[in-house]
């Protein structure tokens, strides 16, 4: 699946998007997998309450299942308007 990062999440991880091969059942499982990879991921995901997630471009939450999902995006709370 494609994993996208925005704003300071993108800056901490260092890339805007990547293709991830994962069997994670939920968003939280995917976060755990990524955090285990490298320090920069662990740092970006250290406080999940400061993050938001979208699945296939719809806001979702960290308990949500990933079955069938093609695009996961992580970002801080939005500041539009």
């Amino acid at each position: 699946m494609d994993v996208l990062y925005f704003a300071w999440v993108r800056e901490r991880i260092g890339i805007p998007r990547e293709s991830v091969d994962s069997q994670a059942a939920t968003v939280a499982d995917l976060v755990a997998e990524l955090s285990a990879r490298e320090e920069r991921y662990a740092l970006a995901f250290s406080d999940i309450s400061a993050l938001r997630v979208a699945l296939d471009q719809e806001l979702s939450d960290f308990d949500a299942p990933l079955a069938g999902v093609r695009e996961v995006a992580f970002f801080p709370p939005m500041t539009g308007g």
Binding site: L4, F6, A7, W8, R10, A54, Q57, E58, L59, E71, A73, F75, P76, P77, M78, T79, G80, G81
Partner: protein
Amino acid sequence: MRVIVQEAPFDFGAEAAAFASARHDMGAIVTFTGIVRDNAGGLSAMEIEHYPGMTAKALEKIAAEAVSRWSLGDALVIHRHGRMAPGEMIMMVATAAHHRADAFAAAEYLMDYLKSRAPFWKKEIGADGAEWVAAKDDDEAALERW
């Protein structure tokens, strides 16, 4: 209903006038415009990142919800991304209704949702560096009234 996401500046006066003149059966028009503030002169630019695949979809969903909740005659959302100087307009919304209470409520609803549910992230570029704008608890709390 029209939703526009663009990097280029928009002409607020022309958009507001065209919106207000489009329907003769709606007596009440409300607009909101957000401008890059030049507070204390310390800001040199605002940079707005967005999520291209999601932005227009999210705005359309918010605008459609506003139109149906208040039986609006029309609604317009324009939101820019990219780099903007102090004084430049970031975004605007406009609502048209029979009665002013509906036009005001719908415009406030659009703004509350744009603030916290549309995938934009603001970064302030100053003389001392750049900083992401933090989401305000107030803005999240504002959603609870709808």
